[in-house]
């Protein structure tokens, strides 16, 4: 079964390299914050650095901006080594986590702050400011005092202030973390729209994997100063390279398995609950061949609760419902597959408006070999 890439209406501008990290290391005294970062970010893409607190994502972002130096390696922006380029001369601009709006200035003065040394006339600068404000949906807010704005408005001012300078790269440091859920979802869409409209490279730092999945063209998942995996959202989700990545992005269920044999690009394994498995070594089995112990992982939505008479697409197994968790549009069923002791989480949309099973019910569960991932 082939899965088609259906990335909706994203202009395929991705071509030239805009940012490149070559074996970048950074130490804070004895603390090894960045441990050999190698990556490229393409021009015009929406790139995210994703990871838990302390993984080094913000540090890496700041090395692009110039607020942090590096201990060794090279950081290239637009093919230029940034080693001797101070922050105020780089072709990048940043939206800070606290937005850093100058409280003693008006919205206009904030947005136009970076134009101070610009040789254009006052009228031209004023119209540039108006344009920038229109782009972020703040037309008419020019004369407002900056300190009297809401969080969402401040963020737009920060965006306008950065984008008016037409940087080659826009850096965003956890821009949505201070907003409430509704505002966040709104701004996510806004940011995507903005990036398409402006067409420049966006590099976003976030610890929220949902956010990264929604907005990015590609994501670099970072743990402890290293990039664990760099891929587009779908690949990251369906083919995570390590358990850590799998765990961090979305929810994944794990069952122990034993590898029986490996030949012709196929791996035979025996797994609790699922029985005998034949997996594609190239796309489904992660990690280097070492011992025979392994873990099989699968996402909640890849298992289907089968109704009476319904046929399983590939294989099926019996399970007992242990817990029902209602989420409004979805219900999560915690089940125990026959022959296992661990609880697995399945999800199902509440097409009937409410959960369909009670605790203790026995049910048939359909599953597909192609949806499984194995970690050695």
């Amino acid at each position: 079964m082939t899965v088609e890439k259906t990335k909706l209406s994203k202009p395929a501008v991705l071509g030239a390299t805009m940012i490149e990290f070559k074996d970048v290391h950074k130490y804070y005294g004895d603390y090894h914050a960045l441990r050999g970062i190698n990556a490229t970010i393409r021009a015009g893409e929406f790139f995210s650095l994703l990871g838990p607190s302390g993984c080094g994502k913000t540090t890496l972002l700041r090395t692009i901006a110039g607020f942090e130096g590096i201990s060794s390696g090279v950081v290239l922006v637009d093919d230029k080594d940034m080693a001797d380029v101070p922050a105020n001369q780089r072709p990048t601009n940043m939206v800070f986590q606290s937005y850093a709006i100058f409280p003693h200035l008006t919205v206009e003065q904030n947005v136009g702050f970076g134009l101070r040394k610009d040789p254009r006339s006052k009228e031209e600068k004023a119209s540039a400011v108006d344009e920038a404000l229109a782009m972020v949906g703040l037309t008419g807010y020019g004369k407002r005092a900056a300190h009297a704005l809401s969080g969402g408005q401040r963020q737009r001012v920060a965006l306008a202030r950065a984008l008016i300078l037409k940087p080659k790269v826009l850096l965003l440091d956890e821009p949505l973390s201070a907003l409430d859920k509704k505002m966040r979802e709104q701004m996510q869409v806004e940011l995507i729209r903005l990036q398409r409209q402006v067409g420049i490279t966006f590099v976003l730092v976030t610890h929220d994997q949902e956010e990264a999945l929604v907005m990015s063209d590609r994501i670099a998942v970072m743990f402890e100063g290293q990039i664990a995996q760099l891929d587009d959202p779908e690949t990251l989700y369906r083919r995570p390279k390590t358990r850590a990545v799998a765990n961090f992005i979305g929810t994944m269920n794990f069952l122990p398995a034993t590898i029986l044999s490996e030949a012709n690009g196929k791996v035979e394994a025996e797994c609790h609950g699922f029985g005998h498995l034949t997996l594609d070594a190239e796309t489904q089995v992660m990690g280097t061949p070492t011992a025979t112990g392994a873990t099989v992982g699968f996402r909640p939505e890849t298992l289907t609760l089968l109704f009476e008479g319904q046929q399983a697409a590939d294989r099926e197994v019996m399970a007992t419902v242990e817990e029902v968790v209602y989420y409004g549009d979805m219900t999560y069923y915690d089940v125990k597959l026959d022959g296992t002791t661990e609880v697995m989480r399945l999800s199902m949309r509440n097409v009937f408006g409410r959960p369909v099973l009670d605790i203790g019910t026995r049910t048939r569960v359909g599953w597909s070999q192609g949806a499984l991932v194995m970690f050695r």
Binding site: M94, F96, Q97, A100, H147, R161
Partner: protein, 268 residues
């Protein structure tokens, strides 16, 4: 009936605090050279005496000159020190800041004498300048304290944002940092000014024939017949202080409103 004990105590305390001061206007209008009851009648002669006393006004001019200069110098030095201590880590920082703040825990007399001895042995003549030097020494720690709190409440990313948008360290300072610490600068100026104006020990021992107001007052109090004039002067000074302080508080609140920061309670 439950006695509001605390409130009674508070009122009594206030009476204790204000007693000496409220007596000032009382005896400033009293037609007698004796500061005692009963009151002998209303007169404005003491205030007229204040107005007529040329030496007094010279002393006032001297004090104002010294206070203005000292407060500006102390605040400037304070800006340097506060900025350095809040923004940077440098070797011997504790020792350096400790020395700068030391005047807070040293009695005035010791500092005055130490300076005096040094100045005399270097054959430097005493004048208003030497007084200013001493005043700056004791006012700077206060300025540093005020300014440190102002600098600390600055969001660090504001500076980075200014850099990111193309500014350098100096232009960032006067475009972003300075406007935001202005309330702190004003507080530092005011507190230094007030301390300098009222300071006695250094003004007395490091001064020369150009007397300062506090020294002049001290000298006058030895002569009973000059006492009521000093009462009148004291009453005026009280009124002036209250007006100045109220203004300062007003501007401080306005400054906060302009930048939308939180009110942390002023000089407290």
């Amino acid at each position: 009936m439950k006695l509001p004990v605390m409130k009674i105590y508070a009122i009594a305390f206030l009476i204790f605090l204000y007693g000496p001061i409220l007596l000032l206007p009382l005896f400033a209008f009293n037609d007698s050279t004796v500061v005692a009851f009963p009151l002998k009648g209303f007169t404005t002669q003491w205030f007229r005496a204040v107005w007529a006393d040329a030496d007094l006004w010279k002393a006032v001019r001297n004090s104002l000159f010294v206070a203005c200069t000292a407060s500006v110098l102390a605040t400037t030095l304070g800006v340097f020190a506060a900025r350095a201590s809040t923004r940077y880590v440098f070797p011997a920082k504790g020792a350096v800041m400790g020395l700068i703040m030391l005047p807070l825990v040293l009695p005035d007399m010791i500092m005055a004498m130490a300076l005096l001895v040094v100045l005399l042995s270097l054959n430097i003549e005493l004048s208003l300048v030497t007084v200013i030097l001493g005043h700056v020494l004791i006012c700077t720690p206060f300025a540093v304290a005020m300014l440190t709190s102002a600098f600390q409440s600055l969001d660090k990313s504001l500076e980075e944002a200014a850099y990111d948008l193309g500014e350098g360290p100096i232009s960032t300072f006067y475009l972003v940092i300075l406007p935001l610490v202005t309330p702190g600068i004003i507080s530092a100026l005011l507190i230094s000014f007030t301390i300098s104006l009222d300071e006695f020990v250094i003004s007395n021992f490091l001064g020369s024939k150009d007397k300062l107001l506090s020294v002049y007052i001290f000298g006058q109090l030895r002569f009973p017949k000059n006492v009521p004039t000093i009462m009148a002067l004291g009453a005026l000074l009280v009124a002036l202080s209250v007006i100045l302080l109220t203004l300062a508080e007003y501007f401080r609140r306005r400054g906060i409103a302009k930048t939308g920061a939180k009110d942390t309670g002023g000089f407290v």
